[in-house]
Assembly symmetry: C2
Homo-oligomer: 432 residues x 2
């Protein structure tokens, strides 16, 4: 671990080890109180170990001359928030004997859904007001990309002669084509830009705010037999004003972009139709025999801590933004966008989508949107392939060609660490 | 939660809540020591909550007249072990700011593999000696069923005219056909019994010990262009003597059947060929953008506790079987098999596969195998559909037809709770 992290994290890992021992002593104490035999106590003491497992740290830290990788939307920006007070309340403890059964709730059509996770999902939507929950089924997936595939599986006619066409307005999320086509299914196939599609049978994916360009999207196709999947991964107050409560048939969300816990791999879907929800659940059953309970407990803990932070502030009228995830993250995103726009102005050869503002029903004020990605275009005639051009400047981005757009535009993550982002904007400003 | 579990678990949940608060106080204390600002401390105190999330309990508890569901191999039998001393050492603590990045090890071909999990996998195989690890790549999956699909994806020729045939000796694991076919891929298709297959191009799946019938299997097809996947979910000392260290090209394992943590959804693969390992990793990347880090940390903790238990005993020559998972579980399985064979003898209308014994290189003694499933056949002429017959007796099993066999045989889980198993054998003994 230390190899990737430097002394800082290694030292923290050491402290966690000490902390873990203390925690374990308390755990053991509590269990002793439950009346265990003396012999077991003795054995337990002997095999006791530090409770915390040193986890990986993600990407290695960066220095001034590092290659800066902003290809993925790796939401490590949020880590600072989770090292604060709310993060402390989100610590998860899982005893060795828990989460053993495959089943979470045998009475639920999604039998692997942890009731505590569903409760926190509903609580959070009730707080933010970004999506309707009454009358919706909640499904859990191993990230929202599994739920996207589950939705394709559920919506594709199983007995059609030809695969149903899956479309999305260009520029579309670069993962939609491979997620649709990697298994070469006869049920569905990627068919590109929704605006270029001609026909009545399709599945249209609407990502709003849009990954990659942050725009607010609506379905562009309107046939009775067509189906829609709304990917709302970025419909949270830090990225965009919450202008209304959405109530589409299938709405996908992910912990990754909401709280920053990408490594937990938990997404959820709000689904109106029972039969569609059942088929989506069946997909997860066949794909992975459900979804990790430990990951669901983690996600429940994290989402719960976010809602608790707001409820506590409402109750006490004290605390400040340090306890309010969306306020903290919005401020951070707004700072970054100001820095990026300044760097683009300083350079003079790039352009960005125009700033958009709106009234946010959650924060009750008019704010600009701060997309999770910058959709950066190069105005310089001789730069034909912007991804390669930036790579030569040690900035790794994702080419527009992967989103159905051209080579003179790239997608850049705005949610990486402060260090990586700082180096990136400085480097960008200096490119002439 | 209480709805499903009755007062017993609700009371335990209450105790966990109390325990959680104590643990959190310690966590908070340690973090204070790291020099946080006084303001943050104040805020932290206010938003603090119990650390433990009440998890689901799996299937509801059973009573004398309950329907007993032994359809799934839900390994809740192991829970008693994990409530003992080893379980205490396996408690996992995850602080709010951990496991946020998508990445675990950017230098590894399986970039989402937690180094700590890989380390514990290798340690455990070194201890048990059931599979070679030197020169093998370790991959992690959301359960071994995701790794099975990853292996199909990696082994199927991407440009073939027709899907490659996937075969397995009858009776085969009932999930292989739907796992292969549910997305109607053009890459591979289920082709049934390996013994009936004629051709050179295939993927043969060898499950050994076999789910459903516990037999030891070898590949039956021997073509140069054919490929094998070895599903070794049950090649652990509690189920079968470890007669040799296997060293096949692709070997699949799962925490579920090794330690009983099915709800964690973690499996692993040992893969010899680098290119195959890369393609399998690519499958997990596309299917679920990697595998939950929290689940991997949990699995690492649990596997580590198993190995620690054995290493500690070797070091101190004390402790007894209560700290030794495989010894504990073997004894338990052997008891259950004796009880089942007695019930079958008492009834007089059923039969089971013959008992098989062998020398176990891990425990250094000759032992009988104790399969995780009973493959129960009915000898009574008038019972044509054994699954329905047992269902009428409130015993839910899985029909032989789902395994490519006939209706007069069923698969029955031998790894459910003591309560469910006890009611089941009593009920079976009384059927005439």
């Amino acid at each position: 671990m230390a190899r990737d992290n430097g002394d800082g994290l290694a030292a923290i890992a050491g402290r966690i080890g000490v902390l873990g021992s203390v925690v374990l002593n308390i755990v053991a104490l509590a269990i002793y109180l439950r009346g265990r035999a003396a012999a077991e106590k003795q054995a337990s003491k002997k095999v006791k170990k530090a409770a915390a497992v040193a986890p990986s740290s993600g990407k290695p830290p960066v220095a001034c001359d590092s290659v800066i990788n902003l290809d993925h939307g790796d939401p490590t920006m949020f880590e600072t928030f989770w090292r604060g007070p709310i993060g402390e309340s989100a610590t998860l403890v899982i005893p060795g004997y828990q989460t053993m059964s495959y089943f979470s709730d045998v009475g639920n059509l999604c039998w692997f859904l942890e009731p505590g996770f569903e409760r926190e999902v509903r609580r959070l939507h009730r707080l933010v007001g970004n999506a309707a929950i009454e009358g919706y089924h909640v499904l859990v997936g191993t990230g929202s990309s599994q739920l996207f595939q589950a939705a394709l599986y559920a919506l594709a006619p199983p007995t059609a002669d030809a695969p149903v066409s899956v479309v999305s307005t260009t520029p579309f999320y670069s993962m939609y084509p491979p997620l649709t086509d990697f298994l070469n299914s006869r049920l569905y196939r990627w068919a590109g830009d929704a605006n270029a599609f001609d026909g009545d049978d399709y599945i249209e994916v609407i990502c709003s705010p849009s990954n990659p360009d942050g725009s607010i999207r609506e379905a562009v196709l309107k046939s009775k037999s067509g189906k829609d999947i709304h990917d709302l991964a970025y419909y949270w107050p830090q990225y965009t004003p919450i202008t209304r409560m959405l109530a589409h048939d299938i709405m996908l969300f992910t912990v990754s972009k909401c709280t920053g816990h990408a490594g937990t791999r938990i997404g959820w879907a709000l689904v109106k139709d029972k039969e569609v929800a059942q088929k989506m659940s069946k997909f997860m059953e066949q794909s992975t025999i459900g979804v990790s309970k430990d990951a669901q407990l983690r996600a429940a803990k994290v989402l719960g801590a976010v809602t608790d932070g707001y409820e506590h502030q409402l109750a006490t009228a004290a605390g400040g933004d340090a306890n309010l995830l969306f306020h903290y993250a919005r401020q951070k995103m707004a700072q970054r966008w100001r820095a990026l726009r300044a760097a683009v102005a300083a350079s003079g050869i790039f352009s960005l989508p125009d700033e958009v503002a709106g009234f946010c029903a959650f924060t009750k004020d008019t704010v600009t949107s701060n997309p999770a990605f910058a959709w950066l275009r190069c105005q310089k005639q001789e730069v034909e392939d912007l991804e390669s051009f930036l790579r030569a400047n040690k900035i790794i981005t994702r080419s527009g060609t992967k989103f159905g757009a051209d080579q003179k535009v790239v997608r850049i993550s705005m949610v990486d660490t402060d260090e990586a982002f700082g180096i990136f904007v400085n480097r960008l400003a200096a490119i002439k």
